[in-house]
């Protein structure tokens, strides 16, 4: 036994030496790499493992990889003097831990000294790194972060940019559609609403309650459920008893998928059927076994936008699967804006931030994409499945949106 102890001690010592040696070697090599200017280093920390990995891998990581692949295939990032520099990527796994993502960004900024840092996935993690990005002067293009406080954050960190809008935006656009439908006599004034008791659900439902009530709707059923829930039979039954023509569920993908299947089994098919994250995934029609016509959710794309169609085709070709119909295109647009900014002003971080907030860009969203108060506002807030595509809709159908088609047809 004594031997084991000393063996353990020796092992620990050896491990320490190894770890320290390895750390200093990695540190040294990265330090050298950042000195030369024959390439542009782009770094990011993203959740490759842990609970956030699913969302990151759907919306963010594929677009980073797609963009880098494309830029490098075209000879690299264009600089103001016309030269081109290839992108070199340093990517870390934050393991879905806030402390890890913070340290990874510190590592990218002060150790790897990368030229550009791309943001992590999720509202919480974008906020966790925001003070550091501002401190080190990196422009922070917060992509996958839904927040109503973007206007405050822009004041706090003036080099931060917000690309996904806030809960109130999504809810008020949806309320507008509901009001028009009610005026047309297609739905009654009752709403059955459920939400997951986690970040997204709480944020949305908090915005939805006052918005629906101000528009004269009666939220006849209002229930939040724990994230582990997988059986929705009771909830759907109760929602059905509320005699509401509108069913709203602010949910995460597992709930969205389960709700769809169970609503189908229960033949619960209210005129308006609105679900949360997951309904805009390309895989959704397969999960719903085809009958997705009329289902609504956040996001949506303009099917007549050729740029966007080209982007989707390219995503499928280079990544090997389709882009989701909500966040992906916004993330990709933010990268295009970054690319064009660098072509105009070079790699000076302060200049990049200045150009991003004031410039006009040609992106997959349109030929004149601009930020307002450092926020992207040209977002499609409400989407609906129409003829096998998840399109952006509004009550009238204008400005790149299609007219909403309600009531939703019965399940096939």
């Amino acid at each position: 036994m004594k031997n084991l102890f000393s063996e353990g001690g020796r092992m620990t010592r050896r491990l320490t030496t190894c770890a320290i040696a390895a750390l200093s070697i990695t540190a040294a090599t990265h330090g050298v790499a950042a000195q030369e200017r024959d390439k542009v280093t782009v770094g990011y920390a993203i959740s490759k493992s842990g609970p956030n990995a699913g969302g990151a891998d759907m919306t963010v990581t594929p677009n980073y990889e797609l963009w880098v692949k494309e830029v490098n295939a075209a000879g690299g990032l264009k600089m103001p003097d016309g030269s081109q520099l290839p992108i070199e990527v340093i990517a870390y796994d934050d393991r879905s831990s806030a402390e890890e993502v913070v340290r990874a960004v510190e590592r990218l900024a002060s150790q790897d000294k990368v030229d550009i840092i791309l943001p992590p996935w999720g509202t919480g993690f974008n906020l966790a790194v925001a003070p550091l990005m501002a401190k080190f002067g990196y422009p922070h293009l917060a992509g996958a972060a839904v927040t109503d406080k973007a206007s405050d954050f822009v004041k706090r960190w003036d080099t931060s940019f917000w690309f996904m809008g806030g809960s109130e935006d999504y809810v008020s656009a949806f309320t507008e559609i509901l009001v028009a439908e009610r005026e047309a006599g297609r739905i009654n004034d009752k709403i059955a609403m459920i939400s997951v008791a986690d970040g997204f659900g709480i944020d949305l439902v908090k915005a939805a309650r006052p918005s629906f009530e101000a528009a004269g709707f009666d939220v006849a059923y209002d229930k939040s459920f724990p994230p582990e829930t997988s059986d929705f039979a009771t909830i759907l039954n109760e929602a059905g008893n509320a005699e509401a023509d509108t069913f709203v569920a602010f949910t995460y993908p597992p709930h969205t998928f389960a709700l769809t299947k169970q609503a189908k089994i229960a033949s619960y098919s209210p005129p308006v059927f609105y679900l949360g994250v997951g309904a805009a995934f390309p895989v959704y029609p397969k999960i719903a076994d085809g009958s997705v016509e009329g289902i609504m959710s956040l996001g949506g794309v303009d099917p007549n936008n050729e740029l966007n169609n080209a982007y989707r085709a390219k995503h499928e070709e280079l990544v090997g699967r389709g882009a989701d119909y909500w966040g992906s295109v916004l993330i990709y647009a933010s990268l295009q804006m970054l690319e064009q900014t660098i072509e105009r002003v070079g790699l000076d971080k302060a200049e990049i931030a200045k150009e991003l907030s004031s410039g006009t860009f040609s992106t997959v969203l349109g030929s004149e994409t601009q930020l307002e108060d450092n926020q992207l506002r040209a977002i499609n807030w409400v989407g609906q499945w129409q003829d096998g595509k998840f399109v952006a809709v509004s009550s009238e159908g204008s400005d790149g949106t299609i007219q909403v088609k309600l009531p939703k047809p019965d399940w096939e």
Binding site: M1, K2, L4, F5, E7, G8, G9, M11, T12, L15, T16, A19, I20, A22, L23, T26, K48, S49, P51, A91, Y92, D93, R95, S97, A98, E99, E100, V102, R103, A104, E106, R107, A109, S110, Q111, T123, G124, L127, A128, A130, P131, K135, F136, R156, A197, D198, G199, I202, D203, K206, S224, P226
Partner: protein, 306 residues
């Protein structure tokens, strides 16, 4: 105080001064590494303070850690920061008292299961409260702290923790603990108030853990239950303390420093294979100590008779 102790103190003092000056010389990233490391050294030492002598394996670390962080998130805008820390310590202390009074008579595996459940219970309670009472999920902490400020606070807490641990080891109280660790029944018969001692240790240890959470919270700006009640914290603390040896003053430190550096190195060099390598490493550790941690405890119990 004999010469050896004096030397030890002098050495430790120099080390602390050097560590305190380090952030002025090194980059923010290395300050971040030191910060994370100091956090885990403190957690592991505080954990061993209770679990070492009593051999009660606690998985409740993250329950207290998270409560500390949440206290700061809730109170940081209504009162000055030192007061917030005091409140956090107070809440941690009261929670530890309640938990300790109700559970420290449980023994062995029941205690492990209970503490694991406690972490989940606290997380669900906080979530339920936020969902149904306050209608807010995320909370913001806007305190003007950079990495090095948080690091200095943690370092101070680590020093205090070591002093407490050292003082306990030298006191009458420490003697009672040694008796308790050798054989609880015998200790009780010899007049040691076993439950009171266990409770006192649990409260001290939990309060320190709560403070670690409170001090680290401003680093994340945004707090929600899934962020601060991450069970990994409990497991990491446990592994570090056990690897180094929970019965010795410097044991948790010896376990925490290499493991933390190793994790850091893995996530830098093998970002895509971290979990796999980590799993393999744990298997390796088990093979190096083939009879595992239990054998170690047994060995200590027998007083090194073999």
């Amino acid at each position: 105080m004999n010469m050896k102790t004096l030397h030890g103190f002098a050495l430790a003092g120099v080390a602390v001064v050097l560590l305190a000056c380090a952030p002025l010389l090194i980059s923010d990233y290395w300050t971040g590494v030191l910060l994370g490391m100091t956090g885990y050294v403190t957690l592991a030492t505080a954990w061993a303070l209770f679990s070492g002598p009593t051999r009660y394996i606690s998985l409740a670390t993250v329950a207290f850690f998270g409560v500390g962080a949440y206290t700061v998130a809730v109170l940081n805008e209504v009162m000055p920061y030192p007061l917030v820390l005091l409140c956090a310590a107070g809440i941690g202390m009261i929670m530890a008292l309640m938990v300790g009074l109700s559970t420290l008579r449980l023994a062995g595996v029941y205690f492990v299961i209970f503490t694991f459940g406690l972490a989940e219970l606290v997380r669900q309670t906080v979530s339920w409260w936020e969902v149904n009472v306050t209608y807010t999920m995320g909370r913001y902490i806007f305190l003007p702290f950079e990495g090095r400020h948080i690091y200095w606070q943690l370092l101070a807490l680590a020093v205090v923790t070591f002093l407490i641990s050292w003082a306990i080891g030298r006191s009458r109280f420490g003697l009672a603990l040694k008796a308790l660790g050798d054989d609880e029944t015998v200790a009780a018969h010899a007049g040691v108030d076993v439950t009171r001692i266990k409770l006192l240790l649990f409260v001290i240890s939990s309060t320190i853990i709560t403070l670690v959470g409170a001090i680290q919270a401003p680093r994340w700006t945004y707090i929600e239950p899934s962020i601060v009640f991450n069970p990994t914290v409990s497991f990491m603390t446990l592994i570090m303390a056990l690897l180094g040896g929970a019965m010795r003053l410097w044991g948790p430190l010896v376990g925490a420093v290499p493991l933390f550096l190793l994790f850091e190195w893995l996530s830098v060099s093998f970002p895509d294979h971290f979990s796999i390598i980590l799993g393999l490493l744990f298997i390796l550790i088990v093979f190096v100590m083939p009879n595992g941690v239990l054998a170690k405890i047994d060995d200590l119990r027998k007083g090194g008779r073999t």
